[in-house]
Symmetry: C2
Subunit: 250 residues, 2 copies
């Protein structure tokens, strides 16, 4: 090893204001001065490798985490050992809200693709919220989004067919990639069939069969984890009606 101190990746200076994801992440809607304050509270970590945990169920819950790049999987395990995938976290999205409950994370978060994440300790966040109303509102906004997203998921699992579930999953991924300036129609799945099936409440074989079926129907082309959505509109139509409506009757 050279005597000169090795440059640690986590010392690389990247500020929230530089981050290309700022408009997806907490700083959204904040002014420069506010972002700077937020910036000081955020700890950037060195990249994490697939299989590493960001946190585990039962760990002391101290921080929110924002994903800068890569992909995380949230899941929890039951006493009898099997796993429930709760969701996937793409760049610009947050995890770790469930640590707020009793000071311990209820779920685990594991890295699917090499990822870099930012940690934001609850205590610092609380302090910042007190001095920065715009941040406070942004945090509340994000919490509301989390709750709403869970509600949509409950609807999906409670009422929808296997086809609709997979279609909704693909449309959701497409939307999220698009909002990150990536292709809405061509991407690689960061997760296994196992994870997809688990997440959607389906058997892995069902997921596989549905991919084959969708391909037959010309909705997409699939090769292992490579996906090309050739008929995104039709997929959206399948999901239509699953979307929340407004108050209809009085």
């Amino acid at each position: 090893m050279p005597a000169r101190k090795k440059l640690k990746i986590d010392e690389i200076k990247v500020s929230c204001s530089d981050c290309s994801l700022a408009d997806l992440c907490l700083p959204h809607g904040m002014d420069a001065a506010d972002i700077e304050a937020l910036d000081k509270a955020v700890k950037r970590q060195s990249p994490l490798q697939p299989g590493q945990h960001v946190y585990r169920a039962g760990d002391a819950g101290t921080s929110l985490f924002a994903v800068r790049s890569g992909c995380l999987k949230s899941y929890c395990t039951t006493e009898d050992g099997d796993e429930q995938v709760l969701g996937f976290t793409l760049p610009g999205e947050l995890v770790g809200l469930d640590g707020l409950n009793d000071g311990h994370y209820a779920s685990s978060s594991i890295v699917l693709e090499t990822s870099s994440v930012c940690a934001l300790p609850y205590t610092q966040l609380e302090n910042l919220c007190n001095s920065l109303p715009s941040l406070h509102r942004q945090v509340m906004h994000i919490i509301g989004k989390e709750v709403t997203a869970d509600q949509e998921m409950l609807m999906l699992l409670g009422k929808r067919s296997a086809e609709q579930r997979l279609a909704a999953f693909l449309v959701s991924l497409s939307r999220r990639y698009k909002s990150r300036s990536l292709s809405a129609t061509e991407f690689n799945l960061p997760m296994s069939r196992q994870d997809i099936g688990n997440y959607l409440g389906l058997a892995i074989e069902t997921v596989s069969r549905l991919f084959a079926l969708f391909q037959e129907e010309g909705l997409l082309r699939v090769n292992r984890r490579q996906i090309v959505l050739t008929d995104l509109d039709s997929l959206k139509v399948m999901v239509e009606g699953c979307r929340l409506g407004r108050n209809t009757a009085s």
Copy 2:
């Protein structure tokens, strides 16, 4: 009508400190002075009748609501008209977090049993949180609980059999009644079979059959909405394994 002004029920003075639910509600863990401040922000409403809405999907979301008595049902409707029950709110529990998302409620909340609720405007809550750290923490705690509860529900809908779902539902109700100093084994269901089935992702007939089955097996006695859990332990055993575990493997 008498000339003397009618006493309006919503003018009755009830403070948070008097409320018998305080230790289930926001004031939990707060000192007297803090509770008084909270008290001033809370608007108490006159009792609501079954079928009335606390709020509807699409309404401007301005407040959290705490249930003092009765029971609410949260639900949302899809474009094609059908309903997804998201949960039931018992005394001491809160609804309205999902209005934080974009300033509009994503779900609706309807009264099942004559209920009285307290409204807490977001703006006031935000101000209070800035001056009362204990309240801020309590709010975060409640948000964490909400997220965790949704996660458990995802697990239930994703992985569990019809029997386990109904058992889990009954055990949950039992626990919640018990923590409100009501009987853990004898209660009236505030909701219809329709609502139960919808909530659990089951057909109404399945719910009915399962009640009959559970009765045959001596787990409970049921007559329409009157429930006596005669073997709560066995019900809990059925749910065992659905409960979240700790981190098992390294």
